[in-house]
Symmetry: C3
Subunit: 306 residues, 3 copies
């Protein structure tokens, strides 16, 4: 059923019902109990088309594909592809679909993955589309939360950083709206959630508040999800300079939190979290990278297996 | 016999007789009736050395290699290789031949592949050498024409666009010269076929004409093969600006063509063909990408299998 | 024992005793008598993180990994990785270790590999760290010398070129200090060995001399190891221009050498060795590339096999 519903691919967190999320979380958990490697996708080819640079997401998908016995082709920068020669997304996709059984795509434009899926005969996985979405990151974030001992229903979660341009945050908020929980959006005024995102959340009846400081609410949070202020999203470099050091989470902050509190970050981080807390059991941002593999194995298995 | 003749690799379309072409076309057709994947090249390593960016050709070769069970190493831009440190082609080749069983190479200089083959102990496949040649593209073009219901002998084919710098066009014209057909070369005056290319064609006794307009002859054509005006080949950007919009093939043009007419393009396209005709059965440019896989599987199997 | 000692990886030539060297040379020799391909590392993933460009070293490791049945993920330039977004080495490593069973890393900073190994749970292989070290190159150099008919004990070896910034040279000198031999360091005054390197060599009691000319001693040498003057290491381009043509080894020079004399170079070369001697049996620089594969297979097998 998941397979049929998502046969065109994983485009937006908005396509996921609570049942869809629970299904893929369960599948990812099963991947963790299996042998590390399998031959499930032997003979399948995944194309990773990264029009924007990435370490984490690209290597994570490629590792997951290899663990499942499959092969990988692709590029890691728009510079080395035909986009440089002026080719449209539609043309690139209608070409590459002949070379592969599925396409993972990152692109600087919002809506790029959706447009790609309209033209493709193979599944498209959105690995980040401009400031819009990054649904597989949000799925692995939910896997991390639940595997690290917390429940989604009843959760008090703060999401802090660049809520305007942060695609990870947008997809995460949308997935969370399927649960009964409280979200605190924390950001400088310039980087608050966009109206259209707030509208979606209001319609979904999720309870959320907005704030510009995290210290007041720190003691009630179960999770604080921090994101990087992304220089590359700012047209105005002065605006970036003004907000880039808005938050630096330190050991002192950590002392204010509950015992079961967890701090998360999709990485890369610049200075939003002080390295002095990296070894705390409350810091689970490197575990997110770990949980990325079973989640991506689950998604690839679901979409590409015969 | 093909294997012996081409043991140094696929360097130039000029090395192909009609028998050679028919042999490799037949082998590519056989690839299409086989299982998608095989283990024929298990344990073999293909090096893809792209000193110039490419999406299509590189990913097509890599996909073909994986479908045959082989592995791939390489680079996708001259920037990340030792060429940047000033290394000669000969030295790069004499190094990489130790790491691989065959080398696919694209290079900005005409004659680069030929020079590489002189130094290499493993087969070299020319994936584009400057404005000179792109023989494997021409071979897949012939596969496309014949698989899409047309015969090469007796064909009326127009080749339009950048005939001066277009390496695809040069290799295609040379391969076609092995058949009894009529070629119409259509281009702005600045981008006509070079004298040395015309001389070769005259010697081969192929019948060809040159024109600067396609509308007059459209109704007699079986195939119109359009190429991109390549900005990167122009030393003079003003010359590029003057000719870049010379041709835009539209629905109106398509209406003037025969029933069995086909329009082809090696891609990427910029605006030479209006997207409004993409879904016509006469538009087979995305099928060319499809036929690239069996043709490259055939070539790799021929050159690399024990 | 080697496996236990080097479980954190191959970081510095200084970690190697004579026994360690002999052990891995023997293992590399065994790789040369085995079948070219094996399934020893089937299911293992190697991450190649090249923050600096490389053809040779990266492709050599990737080829070795494929020959052992393993898979590869990675990047070939710092531009396409999260380093560009400002991520620390520690964070990159703590992420990528979740995706792979071992990491090969090249980085512009001296000490980068050592720092990486402090954070990593998987073995790190130093594929070049700034002007500091390049230990696997030095190991393959020793394999080349011994396989090409020379003995390390009693050897008269000249090492010529950029001894200040040349990482290959630093690792080679350190490995050689485990043997009873004579080293002649030859360089322009500006590029002599650094004091700290000389101090280490003095402590190891290796016999060495420094010179600015090679012609006087050419007739007593068994090996002359020439390195490129690396433009990218010079802060001052004028200094580079002054020294870049200091040495050009020609046929005339070769005529002055012993019968069993060998000339080596880690490549890429610019003009330090005249191409006219490439075909001499005394020129074994392309064989170094050949011996890189068995040495890297030996190292990967040792570090990554279960």
């Amino acid at each position: 059923m998941f397979k049929e519903k998502f046969q065109e691919g994983i485009i937006s967190a908005r396509d996921f019902t609570r049942d869809d999320i629970e299904y893929i979380l369960a599948k990812a958990r099963k991947m963790m109990t299996h042998e590390k490697n399998s031959e499930l996708l032997r003979g399948k080819i995944l194309a990773t088309l990264f029009f924007e640079p990435s370490t984490r997401t690209r290597l994570s998908f490629e590792s997951a594909m290899h663990r499942l016995g499959g092969s990988v082709i692709g590029f890691s920068s728009g510079d080395v592809s035909s986009i440089k020669k002026g080719e449209s997304i539609a043309d690139t996709i209608r070409t590459v679909e002949n070379y592969s059984d599925g396409i993972v795509m990152r692109h600087p434009l919002e809506g790029a993955a959706k447009m790609a899926s309209r033209f493709a005969k193979v599944p498209i996985i959105n690995a980040g589309s401009g400031s819009g979405e990054h649904p597989t990151q949000a799925l692995l974030d939910l896997l991390t939360i639940t595997e690290e001992g917390l429940k989604l229903d009843g959760l008090n979660i703060g999401i802090m950083g660049d809520l305007k341009y942060g695609r990870t945050v947008h997809s995460l908020a949308v997935l969370l709206s399927n649960y009964e929980l409280n979200v605190y959006f924390i950001s400088p005024k310039e980087l608050m959630l966009r109206n259209r995102d707030k509208e979606f959340l209001r319609q979904s009846q999720i309870k959320f508040k907005e704030a510009t400081q995290y210290r007041d609410i720190l003691s009630i949070l179960d999770v604080l999800y921090i994101t990087r202020i992304q220089r590359e999203r700012f047209a105005d470099i002065e605006e970036y300079e003004r907000v880039k050091n808005f938050y630096v989470f330190t050991e002192e902050d950590l002392a204010q939190t509950k015992d079961e509190f967890k701090i998360m970050h999709p990485l890369p981080r610049i200075n939003e979290i002080s390295p002095e807390i990296d070894n705390s059991h409350k810091a689970i941002y490197f575990k997110q990278a770990f949980y990325g593999i079973p989640m991506r194995k689950a998604l690839l298995a679901e979409l590409l297996a015969d």
